[in-house]
């Protein structure tokens, strides 16, 4: 499996799980859980794909982890800044920190695993 595909799959899976954890961390969002999971999965897929492409170019574990964290954090930021339409509350840290850690995990995984792109002869 190449790195972008690994990033895509792992990012999507972790994104979906991340979205589902809202049922535990914020039960009041249960009516919107489908939208949350779809949004979180989409965010994970996009972050994973970007991180996977970066991993193909940058072969450095520390850099990969840092870049993964930053990409995931940037993608989580607009959602974190978006206030809940009912309560008006913003879940900045609750969204930013776990979302960034998901990016960190995908950054690590795409550096350690996955097939680098084949060299042209």
């Amino acid at each position: 499996m190449n790195k972008p595909v690994l990033g895509l799959l792992l990012g999507g899976a972790l994104g979906a799980l991340d979205g589902l954890t809202a049922l535990i961390s914020a039960p009041e969002v249960r009516p919107e859980i489908v939208g949350i999971v779809i949004g979180s999965t989409g965010k994970g897929l996009l972050a994973g794909l970007l991180i996977g492409f970066v991993a193909r170019k940058v072969n450095n574990l520390t850099a990969g982890i840092l870049i993964g964290t930053v990409i995931a954090a940037l993608l989580a930021l607009p959602i974190a800044l978006h206030a809940d339409p009912v309560t008006g509350k913003r879940y900045i840290w609750e969204i930013m920190i776990p979302g960034s850690i998901v990016g960190l995990i995908v950054g690590y995984a795409t550096q350690r695993f996955g097939r680098p792109v084949a060299q042209r002869s």
């Binding site: 920190i97 850690i101 998901v102 995990i105 690590y108």
Partner: protein, 322 residues
């Protein structure tokens, strides 16, 4: 009148310097001694490069030793492998002694390398040694004198198995299997005769030490590889406990009974690779706790990252409840 000591020493060095035929090679300095030959750094004028030149020692020179050195050169020349020094030339000195010219390798012997390196690095070197020995076995050559001082780690990470002087080529004592062209007939009958003991104590398999030449095969080298592993990756050199699977690998490799050893150097290499990859090894049956510990060490970072994620989630849950 007496000559000063340094003058005497200089004259002695000059007298001992081999007189090479022609003017292609110029001896620069002596860089080592083996059981059979002296090694020199020489300059190859024709190709403008430094080379290593092995000359039969004058105190062991004789028809038998000459055949052996020539044989070594032929074995090296025909075993083309990154782990075996390439031979460039072979010849005879003015005094009749045989010499051969090979690539000059700069580096350190395995026992010196092991002292300044991690156990993992040493095992990676040993893996390449096993691959080289496996290659030689596949071509019908058994080294018979494997030891740390016969393994060199070059300054660019190259790993070379040296000193094939007492190597045995299949086809002399045993008639089956392939042999390197021209070497079978050149192998000394004395080397393979029953009762003759050649090798280095401490690294010699029991069948070799007892002179049971008919029983000497690839597993004899496997025994030596196990003994080398113990010597360079053991507790004597590296701090910290020796992992049990690694102990099991070298114990199996250097089992007194050939049937109890790995069947080939390739099998030993396979188990070493599995150990380096934190996978279960064939030589050791691990318990549940050891298996969990090994999996944790293998995926340590990934597990820590996932636990961190879960811890953060839990933290927000706790904070929310406050």
């Amino acid at each position: 009148m007496t000559l000063p000591d340094d003058t005497v020493a200089h004259l002695r060095r000059v007298l001992q310097t081999p007189e090479l035929p022609g003017d292609r090679y110029e001896i620069c300095e002596s860089i080592g001694h083996g059981g059979m030959g002296t090694l020199y750094r020489a300059h190859d004028r024709a190709l403008a490069r430094d080379v290593a030149l092995k000359v039969l020692r004058s105190d062991v020179a004789g028809p038998e030793a000459a055949v052996r050195l020539e044989r070594e050169a032929k074995i090296l020349a025909q075993l083309e492998h990154p782990g075996i020094v390439p031979v460039h030339d072979v010849g005879v000195l003015a005094d009749g002694r045989v010499f051969y010219v090979m690539k000059l390798i700069r580096g350190e012997r395995l026992h010196d390398f092991a002292r300044g390196s991690s156990r993992t690095d040493v095992l990676r070197v040993m893996l390449r040694v096993c691959e080289t020995v496996g290659f030689a076995h596949a071509h019908g050559v058994i080294h018979r004198d494997l030891k740390p001082s016969n393994i060199m780690v070059g300054s660019f990470g190259e790993v070379l198995v040296l000193d094939w002087g007492i190597a045995r080529v299949r086809g002399v004592a045993e008639q089956d299997g392939p042999s390197i062209a021209g070497l079978a007939v050149a192998t000394s009958k004395e080397d393979t005769a029953p009762g003759v003991v050649l090798g280095t104590p401490g690294f010699m398999a029991p069948e070799q030490a007892q002179g049971l030449s008919a029983q000497v095969d690839g597993r004899t080298d496997v025994y030596a590889l196990g003994a080398i592993l113990r010597a360079v990756a053991g507790a004597d050199i590296h701090a910290g406990p020796v992992p049990r699977p690694l102990q099991a690998i070298w114990s199996r490799a250097s089992s007194p009974d050939p049937a109890g050893r790995y069947a080939s150097a390739a099998e030993l290499a396979f188990d070493l690779t599995r150990f380096l990859d934190a996978l279960p090894v064939e030589a050791y049956r691990e318990g549940l706790g050891e298996r969990v510990g090994r999996v944790f060490r293998k995926y340590q970072t990934a597990i820590i990252l996932i636990l961190t994620y879960l811890a953060v989630r839990l933290l927000f849950l706790v904070l929310r409840g406050l």
